[in-house]
Amino acid sequence: MSTQQETFEIIAKQAKIDIATIKPESTLKDLGIASLDAIEVIFDIEEHFDVTLPNEDTDFENGTVGQLIEAIDRQIAAKSAG
């Protein structure tokens, strides 16, 4: 399964939304995920992929799900390189 598919599933499950509504260009804010819910989504992603996402990569207001997925892939690549 791709990072995108796994990330979409985590977001859909945590936010209790239909996975079909999630697009790479959506922001978490667009999806109605704010405040602590957004922080929990990031936590679930970190636990699932066993990566650490810096605060710079988790802009809930303006960052898109696509950018989040790129950040996850960067951390996975850094981990396997390290």
Binding site: A34, S35, L36, I39, F43, T52, N55, T58
Partner: protein, 402 residues
């Protein structure tokens, strides 16, 4: 109604180990924030800067009783001793029973808890230190202040996270007004710089490498620690003693958002500010300075700005609004107590402490935040805001004493 005045203050924090050096630091626009020393920085992801207290020797200041106290208790007693000495108030005879102690604190006991649990879970220690409970209990700081000075009136802590100190001032003022007591030692204490606490704040993604309240690009808070304590008493009591009056505590306002456990509400904040003005019988136009909660998070600073517009209307544009947190850090339960020093200083000396690290304007924060440099400006009335996680708001209103 009994009028309440402030006749003593004491403090210990990253700006200085007494109230005078704390205020001097605020006027100079100095920051006590720096790389963390208490916790190894490599064990932290984002929270590697804090406003730590330096050069504090608990045994030199407190003697053998220091060993009975968590850091939060030590800070509280040191600050209370200073405030009581400045006020010159005595607690002999009936006076002890006619005085209250109300300490605001969010958690207290963190260093003791961290140490005990590390011994238990990491070191597999077979026994724990017997003083763990009396050090970590949240009420210990209030108890130690009462023990140190023979104060036998109502004594307790109030906890409302980052609004604890302001709730403590409000509670103390209500007891004085009701005639239960004639004086109170009130303030706040916190000692939250431990590995466990820092990691918990990191996980919430609110710690930032720099705190820049109301500025574009702000990313969150920097933690601080310490205590500040004040002597409150009725005007009559202070005048009978010939005490020097620092300021009048005109009123207090409190509210609960009854909304989100973390996200702030402009309506809740505005309700507390309005209640403080009403309680202090102050017209919005009389207020010249707002010591803002100003945590440096995206949500707080824009929400607080909206609340100020709601409460002050057109007068909001004339207010000087500053957050002193870039200087002393966000000390959670002690925050409002540090900020009362800023508020009293502004009233007494006509100097508004600045908002440091203000880099560029944010359209959502469109007031006068006294950026980066203190300003000489006479103020006759001021309010100090504290808005806690959990939606608990407390605001105090002060008037200049002339």
């Amino acid at each position: 109604m009994r009028r309440i005045v402030i006749t003593g203050m004491g403090a210990i924090n990253a700006l200085g180990n007494d109230a005078a050096s704390t205020w001097a630091g605020m006027v100079a626009g100095r920051s006590g924030i720096g790389p963390i020393e208490r916790v190894p920085a490599e064990q932290l992801r984002m929270g590697n800067v804090v406003a730590e207290i330096k050069g504090f020797d608990p045994v030199a200041r407190l003697g053998e009783r220091a060993a009975m106290m968590d850091l939060a208790g030590q800070y509280a007693v040191v600050a209370a001793d200073e405030a009581i000495a400045q006020a010159g108030i005595r607690f002999d005879g009936e006076n002890g029973a006619r005085t209250a102690v109300v300490v605001g604190t969010g958690a207290s006991g963190e260093a003791t808890r961290d140490d005990q649990y590390r011994r238990l879970y990491a070191d597999n220690a077979s026994r724990l230190h017997p003083l763990g409970i009396v050090k970590m209990m949240i009420n210990a700081s209030a108890s130690h202040i009462s023990m140190a000075h023979g104060i036998t009136g109502p004594t307790f802590v109030v906890a409302s996270a980052c609004a604890s100190s302001n709730h403590a001032f409000a509670q103390a003022a209500m007891m004085i007004r009701a005639g239960l007591v004639d004086a109170a030692i009130a303030g706040g204490t916190e000692a939250c710089i431990t590995l466990g606490t820092m990691r918990a704040w990191e996980a919430m993604r609110v710690l930032a490498p720099e705190i820049r309240p109301f500025s574009a690009g702000r990313r969150g808070i920097v933690l601080g620690e310490g205590a500040a304590m004040f002597v409150l008493e009725t005007l009559e009591h202070a005048q009978a003693r010939g005490a020097m009056i620092l300021a009048e505590l005109a009123g207090a306002g409190m509210s609960s958002d009854a909304g989100d456990i973390a996200a702030p509400s402009a309506d809740g904040a505005a309700a507390a500010m309005r209640a403080a003005l009403r309680d202090g019988e102050l017209a919005a136009e009389e207020v010249g300075y707002i010591n803002a909660h100003g945590t440096g998070t995206q949500a707080n600073d824009s929400t607080e700005t909206r609340a100020l517009h709601q409460v002050f209307g057109a007068h909001a544009r004339k207010l000087a609004v500053s957050s002193t947190k870039p200087m002393h850090g966000h000390a959670l339960g002690a925050a409002g107590a540090f900020e009362l020093i800023a508020t009293i200083g502004a009233l007494r000396e006509g100097v508004i402490p600045p908002t440091l690290n203000y880099h560029e304007p944010d359209p959502a924060c469109d007031l006068d935040y006294v950026p980066n440099v203190a300003r000489e400006q006479a103020v006759t009335a001021a309010i100090s805001n504290s808005f806690a996680f959990g939606g608990l708001n407390a605001v105090v209103a002060l008037k200049r004493w002339v």
